[in-house]
Amino acid sequence: MIYADNAATTKMSPAAIREMLPYMDEIWGNPSSLYETGQRAASALRFARERIAACIGAAPDEIYFTSGGSESDNQAILSAAKWGERSGKKHIISSAFEHHAVLHMLEKLEREGFEIDLLPVHENGMVYPKQVADAIREETCLVSIMYANNEIGSILPVAEIGAVCHEHRIPFHTDAVQAAGHMPIHVRTQNIDLLSLSAHKFHGPKGVGVLYARRGIPLTNLIEGGAQERGKRGGTENVPAIMGMAAALEEACANMKENTEKLLKLRAALIDGLSKIPHSALNGDAQSRLPGNVSFCFEGIEGESLLLLLDDRGICASSGSACTSGALDPSHVLLAIGRPHEIAHGSLRLSLNAQNSEGDVAQILQAVPEIVGYLREMSPLWKDKQNGKKPFIL
């Protein structure tokens, strides 16, 4: 199997699994208990918090463990919204191609009377600091712009956007789910007040993540309960998962330079090879993109068919076509960068990790053009374009 869907989830690293095991069979106590096995779990949690804080340039008491990226995004946005509301500020700036964990939370707040500005995304997958600066008002209580996009891999200028926010004393949240473990993060120098990350995107376990909240940002609970996470997130901590997350993030950060170098080579070969397919286009910026992300649109075909035929050849990938999601519209990300519906249906996302090889890339480059060609052969849309009845778009 060639796994090229690491933006969906990643295989756990052996180091992360090793780190988790003792917290399932030896040190399985509740960190809130005062006897020894509980206190050993509590001290492990403290250690995990310190290690994760060190990876992103934060202080340990700014790290909140959550169930993952969606919960972190939800709590970050809700907290800033409620904070703003207390001083009559109910305007939020975000972008049109955020993850649904952000967008759906913002829609909910809009129904509750908040004004939401979703900044348009440039066709290269960028949102620029100037756009944020121009959208800021007296009543703005939050700016939430993702660090890197999950579908097209574009990396946004978060430090500069954060600087604009800080000039206006507005809290800045970034959904760093796709960036954590793959791109350097330093919340202080990057002017980040709230940040979401998810362990299973960097070879950690599923169902666990982090909300970083700068000291002084008051959090609103999503889960009421005990005094865990300094009273901001009730529920007994998932100690094994948290330990696995800490190990995975440390490992990913330690190997980042080496992994990036390797991935950039694989990515270049993939982009180069896929660009040779006629009437195709790379989605997102060619330079400022996640090292493992390759996203393409192929005119005249539909993405789900492509994925199923890739799966038959042992290649796991994903698509932003409507059919792959069960929705009626194709990916909001591809629509946000200006791809017409028809073109967005024919999208393919390959997201590599450092375990992928040049052989994997060669097999992908063998399979994709063949399958695209085969599907085009049976596509009446493609035929109409070829005989001039319909115009080519790409």
């Binding site: 005249g300 059919c323 249906h345 493609w382």
Partner: protein
């Protein structure tokens, strides 16, 4: 893949009757690029019977499988029988489709129907208009 039945995957991987007929007596095309699926059916009619059929489809796995199955079901059948083909029958013959994919079987039925209407129109055959509703599947994309 557990998303689809073995039947769907078989017809998707090995679609029957793919291609076109240069001398087709009736051609029907339904769906649109915006929605992500277009089906085109070519019929050869002899003695009021479908003597040959081909299809071309732009669409997902179930759209290709439904096209393939529908063409299999009408090949060699007399037109009155072909007109009784329902999307439900296509979906059942495929051992079911996921709920959000049922419109693929609707498109297959409509493509066949559109091809017969084209044949009737070209040959001046009288028919009951109500048998050929206009693009009933278009609620899918709201167009």
């Amino acid at each position: 893949m557990a998303l689809y039945s073995e039947k769907v995957m078989d017809h998707f991987r090995n679609p029957r009757n793919v291609g076109f007929l240069a001398d087709a007596d009736g051609v029907g095309e339904v769906g649109n690029a915006k929605c992500g699926d277009i089906m085109k059916v070519y019929l050869k009619i002899d003695n009021d019977t479908v003597s040959d059929v081909k299809f071309e489809t732009f669409g997902c796995g179930s759209a290709i499988a439904a096209s393939s199955m529908a063409t299999e079901m009408i090949k060699g059948k007399p037109l009155p029988e072909v007109l009784k083909l329902t999307n439900k029958a296509v979906a059942e013959a495929l051992d079911g489709l996921p709920a959000h994919k049922l419109h693929c079987s609707v498109l297959a039925e409509e493509a066949v129907r559109a091809a017969i209407k084209d044949y009737y129109d070209k040959n001046g055959v009288e028919y009951d208009q109500s048998q050929f509703p206009d693009c009933a599947s278009c609620h899918i994309c709201g167009e």
